[in-house]
């Protein structure tokens, strides 16, 4: 089930993002927040169209997934190429802190996000093509 797979990815990414920020206390940068805005709703939106299955859920979810994909692509390009330090050090809500980029993969999180959004878009588009309506 393509949409179910998409939901699994969205939920895993959401919990992963919350783990990074709430448990590991890594302050999310602005771009991460934009990606979260597009990722978190899918966790609730997709099940509504799954139980029972409603093919239109794909149309509702795709704009979110596409927008999230664009932001994550932008961030990955930023990290790989242009300005690796385009992150803000101290974010409200987290105890005053600074990101020390000593932990293995600062690069990993944007990349994970890009992979998640790419897969979700592929699944949603596949679901759309397969569904006759």
């Amino acid at each position: 089930m393509l949409v179910f797979g998409c939901w699994l990815i969205a939920s895993t990414s959401t919990l992963g993002a919350l783990f990074f920020s709430e448990i590991m206390d890594l302050p999310p940068c602005v771009l991460c927040w934009y990606q979260r805005i597009f990722m978190f709703p899918l966790v609730l939106l997709l099940p509504v169209g799954l139980l029972p299955f409603d093919a239109r859920v794909v149309s509702y979810a795709l704009p979110l997934a596409l927008a999230g994909w664009l932001v994550s692509l932008f961030q990955v390009l930023l990290v790989v190429g242009l300005i690796p330090e385009a992150i803000r050090p101290c974010t409200q809500g987290v105890p005053c802190s600074e990101v020390q980029i000593q932990w293995l993969g600062f690069v990993n999180i944007p990349l994970l996000s890009l992979i998640a959004f790419s897969t979700m878009n592929a699944l949603l588009i596949a679901a759309r093509i397969r569904s006759p309506r």
Partner: protein, 244 residues
Amino acid sequence: MSRKSKRNQPDPVSPPSQAQSAPAAKRWSRRNIFIASVAALLLAFVSATLLYRSEQARSSQFAAAKNLPALASERSPTFGPADAKVHLVEFFDPACETCAAFFPHVKKLLSANPDRIRLSVRHVPFHNGSDEVVRMLEAARNQDRYLPVLEALYASQNQWVRNHQVQADLAWMSLAGLGLDLDRLRREMNAPEVARRMAQDMSDARILGVTKTPEFFVNGRPLPRFGLEELQTLVQEELRRAYP
């Protein structure tokens, strides 16, 4: 599309009523799979959290135990009697809001146990531009004005820290009226000794894994979790142990 017109259309997805039982069962199992997935994901999240927390507590305990000499150098500003058996070490950034909020509570801990607690402070200017403010503090020590300067800086912090950016020229304004020789301060804040102390603080912070401020160690023990209550509990524990 209005709700009514949607109702009137035949719904291609839902089956006619006589064939209800088979799809209903399918829908039911689908729901079970969904609920099971939710449970599995949450379980994975909770266990990862617990695992990470215990791992982190162990490793920070270990780092502090192994690196006791890194905790406080004799050059760090220290308050309280030298023979106090409870030694509190605070790593802080003068531009950090949480540090400012903690400071009155730290002072209260000290004043409640004047003979039993010694406080050493270390500077970790993580905020951009905060190193200049630390230099002011270090230079103020030469005029025996460390605490008044720190308190004045904390009190006016929201004026010289804007959006987590330090505006050092505004910080200078809060030094007025403290009885400081400002020309001397300006001269001495660039002394090599000040730079040495600051480098020592930063390298000790790295050794101890201090990446956030404020960070506390009580007789070498880090807080199990960040929080004011955790700090107070840890101090009480060490007090009870040292002064039974």
